[in-house]
Structures are given as structure tokens and as C-alpha cells.
Symmetry: C2
Subunit: 108 residues, 2 copies
DNA sequence: TAGTGGTACTCGGTACTACAAGGTACTCGA
DNA sequence: TCGAGTACCTTGTAGTACCGAGTACCACTA
């Protein structure tokens, strides 16, 4: 699959929120998860910038824990604002995909 | 619906290609069509920049025709490269929506 | 004990895209 | 003649993902 980066703009953040929402986890693991899911080109730098943004916007709660196999990990969990943001993301996503599906059918 | 602009990045160009592909048309009408379809905030300036990009990249054939109700219109039609690009867009779109659906289900 | 590879986070700069805001210009009806 | 609707264009800005490089810690092994 060629370059998806432009298409992922605005959706990657939602994906990260979803991953954090389903389980408290940390940046490196999130990157791995996204790669597994098929977003092969997403790199660590991107995920960390998203995580910093989420933190700055107050959507997550951060806990630092020693790792045992490297430097300490920063674990992220959603707070209430984060859950709201995630819900809003899915609403937007549904809206957009629905409209584009309609467009594709040549529909009115 | 609040701001969709970030989510539309990378997909709006495909939408415009699809519209042009189904019928030879012009910028102003494309904007109207997108607004009708539910992309209410898409403005003319955005569509024109996309059209110029498509032209520069050699995906469209342009024909100027007098309008009778305003300045002359620039009609756009897809050429072979444009049809290829459109097909590639849908492949990418399917890919991304599928992965995100999987993510949403919490699936592996 | 030095080297390698995997884990884990950070940061500055760049490219691309959609939008904001303003302008130009043509036609028609009041 | 003036406004509204049609139609196009341009410059600048903001947001987002990526690139590339750096830091650091640990386990294993030659």
C-alpha cells in the first residue's frame, strides 16, 4: 500500500484515543499496535507527538512506570474529557464515511 | 457537525476526482455539490486549489466555455491518468476504512 | 567488557493540505 | 445603477504526519 499519510491526517489521533481507551498503554506499544493493524508506515515520532498533544489538551492521564526492559514507560489512560473526545471522533468518522459512501454510489 | 477539515485532508481531492469522473463539470458547481452532500464547510477557495493541483499533476483535461450567467466556466474532465488516480484513491480509502473498522471492533 | 540489538522517549524541522480572506469580473433584474 | 448571484483566482495561515537525529536503559554474547 502506498503512502497513506495524507489520508490519516485527522484520523490517527482518533485511532490512538481508541487504543488508549481500550487499555492503558504506552507510546512504543501503541506504535506496534498501529503497525500490526495495517498502518505500517506510522512511526514512533508521530505517535509521540500525538500523545504529547493529547496530554496538552487534557484528554489523558499519564503514569510513569519502570519497565524492566528499557527506560521507564509513560502509560496513558483516558479521562472523562478523553472519552468525550473519542465519542466525538467516532461521530465525525461515521458522518464522513457515510457521505463518501453516498458520493461513491453517485447518490444524491 | 463541527469542524471536519482535518478529517477531510487527503480525501477531499478524491471526492473532487469522483465528481469530475461522473460528469464533466466546473469549480463552482463542484463546491455546491460537496455542500449538498453534507460537506457544508467546504469553500470555493479550497476546491479551486484542488482543481489547480489536479491540472498541474496532469489528471484532468480543461475546457473553457462561456456561461451566459457570469464569467466563462472552466470545465474539468478526467483523463486516463485521472481515472487511474481515482481508482487508486478508492483502493486506499477502502483499506483505511477497513482497518479503522477493525480497530473500532477492538479486533486484532 | 565492549558491542549489538531491542526497548522507550524527545525534539526541531519539513511537506502537504484545507481554510480564511480578499479580490476580480460578468450577467441580470429591480 | 446598484445589488445579488455566478464564477474564478491568489496569498497567507494553521494543523498534522513524517523525517532524522539524539538520548538512554537493558539483556545478551563474543
Amino acid at each position: 500500500m502506498d503512502d497513506l499519510t495524507e489520508m490519516l491526517k485527522g484520523t490517527l489521533e482518533g485511532c490512538v484515543l481508541e487504543i488508549i481507551g481500550s487499555e492503558e498503554t504506552y507510546g512504543y506499544a501503541i506504535t506496534r499496535r498501529l503497525n500490526e493493524l495495517g498502518f505500517a508506515d506510522v512511526v514512533e515520532g508521530t505517535v509521540y507527538t500525538i500523545l504529547l498533544r493529547l496530554e496538552k489538551n487534557g484528554f489523558v492521564q499519564v503514569t510513569k512506570r519502570p519497565s524492566g526492559q528499557g527506560p521507564p514507560r509513560k502509560f496513558y489512560a483516558l479521562n472523562d474529557a478523553g472519552r468525550d473526545e473519542l465519542a466525538a471522533f467516532w461521530v465525525k468518522w461515521e458522518y464522513v464515511t457515510e457521505r463518501i459512501a453516498k458520493l461513491k454510489e453517485g447518490g444524491k
